[in-house]
């Protein structure tokens, strides 16, 4: 009898999950801090959370598709699908999440040297080092290539001065990846370098900014004569824009997943609403149906793009579509959750927990990582070829 290798993998994985996923980690993880973000400052919310991370990290399951030598499990695309299906089947929490996994990791895998990969990736996979993103500046938001933070060439290092803003979780992070202008005379896209910087060193300071959702994951980050050694550049000097853009496509895919995440084992919005509402009124139900139709279709599109990438047809600029559609949908979904919650949803930590905070947070989805307007401009110029 021949056994389908993917089915064999499924069986093994199922056994492993049954044995290793602590019961407490099988609730999908909705509460804040339910999923570990890693890094030196992380305080585990339970022993089970710590144990789950360690067990997954040992198998490479925190970053299932990364190569084994960099801390991953080296899963193929088919196996990855199965991995998500089986995790979903027991409603397992993700063991670890971070910008290192979603953003820096893919960029390093693509542009980093072998030494850099060996040095930086395994600690991300194990949740030991937490990264933040130093892209935006007060004068460089949508016009990101306008960054002014400057790096002076001092032979074996750069001396960095300037200010970053909206650096999410910078106060919790150990390292920052930053866009720094290393050639002020070059055209704006051609004078930027992509640098990695230890935040514990002298000359790097962060201050939190409070958000409308009541939390302060945002920071301002200041560089004052910060020293960044030359080996901490990713890619070529002054060609950091390529790395920045590559990373952005991953960031956008990650953010868009907020809406598309429903498609896998996730539950339908309408079903979630029915949990707390005996009878949905007709308008709410109709809106929930529309939301469901869009969520499932966007989820399938994410799958299709992954299948395309595997078949050697990368999505390229079309991924701006996923970011746009996914985030707009996620906002709608949370609008509906608020309607469904009625007055219970209006209290901070009321009967519905953090529903209002989550709703407020989603408003940023169509701003962070490039606004919806910027996504539409990318599609209209680069995909449709409309004149600039």
């Amino acid at each position: 009898m021949t056994v389908n290798p993917t089915e064999e993998f499924r069986a093994q994985l199922r056994d492993w999950l049954q044995e290793n996923c602590p019961q407490e980690m099988r609730d999908g993880g909705l509460a804040e801090n339910a999923i570990c973000w890693g890094g030196k400052n992380w305080v585990f919310t339970s022993d089970a959370q710590k144990q789950w991370l360690e067990r997954c990290a040992a198998k490479g399951y925190t970053v299932p598709t990364w190569p084994v030598e960099y801390g991953g499990a080296g899963l193929t695309r088919d196996q990855e699908k199965i991995f998500h299906e089986e995790m979903g089947a027991i409603n397992a929490r993700s063991p670890l999440q971070s910008f290192g996994i979603w953003m820096l990791g893919p960029a390093l895998l693509h542009f980093g040297s072998h030494e850099q990969k060996l040095h930086y990736l395994p600690p991300i996979a194990r949740g030991e080092v937490r990264w933040c993103q130093g892209y935006s500046e007060p004068g460089a938001g949508s016009d990101l290539a306008n960054v002014q933070t400057k790096g002076e060439d001092k032979g074996d290092h750069w001396l960095v001065n300037g200010q970053k803003i909206w650096t999410s979780y910078a106060d919790q992070a150990d390292w920052i990846f930053a866009l720094v202008r290393t050639d002020k005379d070059a055209p704006k896209h051609k004078g930027i370098s992509f640098l990695l910087c230890d935040m514990e060193q002298a000359g790097v300071e962060t201050r939190p900014i409070k958000m409308i959702s009541g939390i302060s994951p945002f920071c301002e980050t200041f560089f004052t004569d910060a020293v960044i050694p030359k080996e901490q550049i990713v890619g070529t000097e002054n060609r950091g824009w390529d790395v920045a853009k590559y990373l952005l496509t991953h960031e956008r895919e990650m953010i868009s997943g907020g809406g598309a995440g429903l498609s896998g084992g996730g539950r339908a919005l309408g079903a979630v609403i029915s949990d707390t509402m005996e009878e949905m009124d007709a308008t709410l139900r109709a809106d929930a149906m529309r939301c469901e139709i869009d969520a499932l279709s966007i989820g399938l599109t994410l799958e299709r793009y992954k299948d395309q990438a595997e078949a050697g047809q990368g999505a390229g600029d079309a991924s701006a579509m996923l970011k746009y559609m996914g985030t707009e949908l996620n906002k709608q979904r949370h609008e509906l959750m608020m309607s469904a919650g009625g007055s219970d949803a209006l209290e901070w930590d009321g009967p519905l927990g953090n529903r209002a905070g989550d709703w407020l947070r989603t408003k940023a989805n169509s701003i962070e990582g490039g606004t919806s307007e910027v996504m539409l401009s990318i599609v209209s110029r680069r995909v449709l070829g409309l004149p600039a």
Partner: protein
């Protein structure tokens, strides 16, 4: 695993179909037919049959090419782009799928006739203004060894000119599907004057005789054969509508690049760019739902209902947006009969109603997703 990319064969099929349709059935051909009041071109259908399209779902031993549902969707999608007129959906997709649920000599013979293009079919299901097969009232009363059919059907797509009809009627304890020649005594067909200029009919059945032989599948168990057929039809119609969306959209983008106002191409205006980009996003997302529906019908038909309804609902909505924006962005010219956009708008409206509208399929999705 259901890979959501076209296979090499499907890509080739799409390229071939596009090449053929651009030559043999461009929108200008549709306009000629419309102007001549012609709703069916038998010679064109014969050519399509010769390419294996009529037999796309007919088993090889009955003379078909048996390429599968995803392939049928590929063909339907290309037909949608140029608004090609053919009985492809009614005959090659719906009737063939129904017939292949039954394995007897009569069904196999009927399938062979579909594949060769010799026989065309229409599905007579709707009785009211909305698609509702379960609510069928038309009666098939047992009479001796056979039945007598009495009742009325409307919106029978391809029904005025089809050679045969699949008729859904109520029997003693359920619904039964009949496969009968369209010229049987007691059948009166009145062609409907449809906005999309295609064949559709209102049909009256006045004491029409049917024998046990005319029953497709088992008495009282129509859904066994009809359900897969409807799903195949819904998926292919969704594919046609996604092709239609893409066809209308291509015209719109071309116009944005060429039409000048205020001294520049109108495509420079961000207000239009963003709407065009949004429309493209909708079309792209819908394409995924279509591909998925074809894959599910081929690989896991028992569980395809959600995928099919998703495809039809999304395609209906996207086509609507595509034609509304298409007309609006063309300005006044978009409203003229001399311009093709109106054809797309009318076909989109008809496709939206046929085989279940947005709400019908949204309800199915809600049920499948547990609310």
């Amino acid at each position: 695993m259901n890979k959501l990319v076209l296979t090499e064969e499907e890509t080739m099929l799409a390229d071939m179909a596009r090449g053929f349709l651009d030559g043999a059935a461009p929108v200008s051909k549709f306009r000629e037919m419309r102007d001549a009041g012609q709703t069916f071109d038998r010679a064109l259908w014969k050519e399509m049959a010769d390419m294996g399209w009529a037999g796309v779902l007919v088993p090889e031993d009955a003379g078909g090419s048996d390429m599968g549902f995803a392939a049928a969707n590929v063909i339907a999608q290309e037909m949608g782009k140029t608004l090609a007129v053919s009985p492809f959906l009614s005959s090659a997709v719906i009737a063939a799928t129904a017939l292949r649920q039954v394995s007897d000599a009569r069904a196999s013979d009927a399938l062979a006739k579909i594949a060769s293009g010799e026989a065309t079919y229409a599905l007579a299901v709707d009785e009211g203004i909305k698609f509702d097969p379960e609510g069928t009232a038309m009666e098939a009363k047992a009479d001796g060894n056979g039945f007598r059919l009495n009742g009325k059907k409307q919106f029978v797509v391809d029904g005025a000119l089809a050679d045969r009809l699949l008729v859904l009627a109520r029997t003693e304890s359920g619904l039964t599907l009949f496969d009968i020649p369209a010229d049987r005594a007691g059948i009166q067909r009145d062609a409907s004057n449809m906005i999309d200029a295609r064949d559709a009919a209102r049909i009256t059945f006045d004491d029409v005789e049917a024998t046990g032989d005319d029953v497709l599948g088992s008495v009282d168990r129509a859904m066994d054969v009809l359900k897969p057929a409807l799903q195949a039809g819904q998926a292919a119609l969704a594919a046609e509508m996604s092709g239609l969306s893409a066809g209308a959209f291509a015209m719109t983008v071309d116009y944005l690049k060429e039409r000048k106002q205020f001294g520049v191409e109108i495509g420079r205006f961000q207000a239009l760019q963003h709407r065009a980009a949004h429309l493209w996003c909708e079309i792209e997302v819908t394409a995924s739902a279509i591909l998925n529906a074809g894959r599910m019908l081929d690989n896991d038909p028992e569980n395809a209902e959600l995928a099919v309804s998703l495809a039809k609902a999304r395609a209906t909505d996207t086509a609507k947006l595509s034609v509304i924006e298409g007309v609006q962005m063309h300005g006044g010219i978009g409203m003229t009969d001399a311009f093709d956009m109106g054809f797309y708008m009318k076909r989109a409206r008809v496709g939206a109603e046929w085989l279940g509208d947005y709400s019908y399929h949204a309800e199915k999705i809600a049920a499948a997703r547990g609310f």
